[in-house]
Symmetry: C2
DNA sequence: CTGAAAGCGCTTACAG
DNA sequence: CTGAAAGCGCTTACAG
């Protein structure tokens, strides 16, 4: 930095201002400095910036066995976003076996300022309470139940499930099975509600026998398929609350020699990698995972740095758009079927 | 740190020595310091350590569309290991569209000292050459072809494929199909060679028609299944060069109403998440992904820091053990079948 | 075996 | 709008 300063004929302080985008620097001065930076190939040393500034920001991404596909996409998005925000991101696992106290100690040891909570941890109330009592900034990602002590970034799960069910209805399906997600994730309830509302709005009676429980694993999808694919009740379409379960249903259908989508339409939710790894590829709801990670990190970083005097800033609520992506696993119900 | 020093009645220098495990500190002094550290809940500030010491170490993990399951496991392992080694790890994508020059510029901007190359990038010779010319330390992970300019961490792919084929042979199978991996990954060749060698050692003629090409994607596994499951040539067992393809074969077999493992045994390679997401779960070769990440990072960090005078230290070669994990997708060939 | 000095590369106040 | 001073929390030599 000193070299840049002498090369540009200014003080190091001015170079610092240019780097940090201080608006008060004269355009002419700024240009001189920028030129020197470019010519010398100067890159600021982050360690020094952290040391000098008090505006350090260390975030932790807490996860517990989510699907690998979701986690890697979320991780990549978070890492990229953290770097842009000049925040340090550490990644830690927190399983149900660990006590809140043990976790608190771990976070303190890492001098964490903020916590990122993807599902299913985003809905863990005990965890949320413990974090709040440690005065940490927390962001819930993809939750269906924003907490009063946390920021939250999510899609409208209910509307998404409604849209997907509507889509199936418009394809002519009337008997649509539903495989729900873990009851301990708030989004699961919203998704099922969206499914039910679409049916009602369309004037169709809900058949409880067509709604079977799942827990987002492939395995649970297989079990659900066993029930729903029984000839005595088999619907013409099945909407699963996530892609893993939808993929399992496609697999089970094939095993029973049922054609997808000819005889059975199957739709998923999330648009993770498995959605395009099955055949036919899954029609599903795309969640903007990395955008969600990005927003969550930005909110956390800003709110941690802005934490000067005005201590209690309102918790942010960010609703991001979903998208129904149509692929090959669903089809119009033919009259004769 | 100053607080700890006064609390323990020593100089900050001594505290620093204790933290860094300097062997010359008297046990008595060390204990006093440790006690003070514990009591005060002191945690060293990494930014300051980096700034003060010249032994900073910044690593980049370069990836390009590997399977999500592999990437997330590798990422998690790398992140944890980097933190232990006190190395900063940044994660970047490098696709074939990007020129070596553009990548070089990106790495320079990030002041990278070392590069971690998981497959398939570990076998990209142009990339390896470009990195070497930038005098970066690089570690190839899971490669079958260690480069002279890089450290390498790998398993014995040939021996692993040999072991799996042997296992199938011992189960009574004589006609064993093989689905190979991308020819541009060095490990693919080793795996196929292991398969062939087992057959030869067992005194069985190789049927070229049973060896079909794949590229590690689920899709390619489906295509391979189409060929191998044709009644005219159908083998009693199929060994796929990775789990994704093996899962596709299980799926295809089910669609054709073939029982796995009753009528057809299927084995995979890697033991990624998909191996336990299919039904039956896949018998496969477990690669110690996170251990591999850990070793690669440790080697990189040490060699970067040790880079004092003795400039050209030998490139390391680390062979890690694999494990054949037996699950439900293979069975003994019954006499009548 | 332990300590006093200087400095890593920036940024925060504080001046002007 | 720009600069001179001091300091962030450690570690590297260098003494003793």
């Amino acid at each position: 930095m000193a070299d840049v300063a002498t090369a540009a004929g200014v003080s190091p302080m001015t170079v610092s201002r240019v780097i940090n985008g201080d608006a008060r620097v004269l355009p002419a001065t700024r240009d001189k400095v920028q030129e020197a930076i470019g010519r010398l190939g100067y890159v600021p040393n982050p360690a020094a910036r952290n040391l000098a500034g008090a505006r350090q920001c260390r975030l932790v991404l807490l996860h517990t066995n989510p699907s690998a596909a979701y986690l890697s996409e979320f991780l990549l998005g978070s890492l990229a976003s953290a770097r842009k925000s000049d925040a340090e991101l550490i990644v830690e696992q927190h399983d149900s076996g660990e006590s809140p106290a043990a976790l608190a100690a771990r976070l303190a040891a890492h001098r964490v300022d903020g916590v990122l909570l993807p599902p299913p941890l985003c809905d863990d109330e005990a965890l949320l309470a413990s974090l709040a009592s440690q005065r940490l900034e927390v962001a819930q990602v993809a939750t269906g139940a924003p907490a009063s002590t946390a920021h939250a970034v999510f899609i409208d799960d209910e509307a998404a499930a409604f849209a997907m069910t509507m889509h199936l209805l418009e394809q002519g399906h009337r008997r649509i099975g539903y495989v729900s997600g873990s009851p301990d994730q708030s989004a699961s309830h919203l998704r099922r509600r969206g499914y039910k509302r679409a049916l009602k709005d369309f004037g169709i009676d809900i058949e409880e026998v067509l709604i079977v429980p799942g827990d987002y694993t492939y395995r649970s999808g297989l079990e659900a398929a066993e029930r729903l694919l029984n000839p005595s009740i088999r619907p013409t379409a099945i909407f699963a609350a996530n892609d893993d379960m939808a993929a399992a249903i496609v697999g089970a259908a094939h095993r029973m020699a049922l054609d997808v989508p000819g005889t059975l339409s199957v739709c998923g939710f999330d648009d993770t990698a498995i959605a395009t790894a099955t055949w036919p590829e899954l029609t599903t709801i795309r969640q903007p995972v990395s955008a969600m990670a990005h927003r969550a990190i930005t909110i956390l970083a800003n709110s941690i740095r802005r934490k000067d005097g005005s201590q209690s800033i309102a918790m942010q609520r960010v609703l991001l758009p979903f998208e129904l992506v149509r692929r090959g696993s669903d089809a119009r119900l033919e009259a004769g079927t």
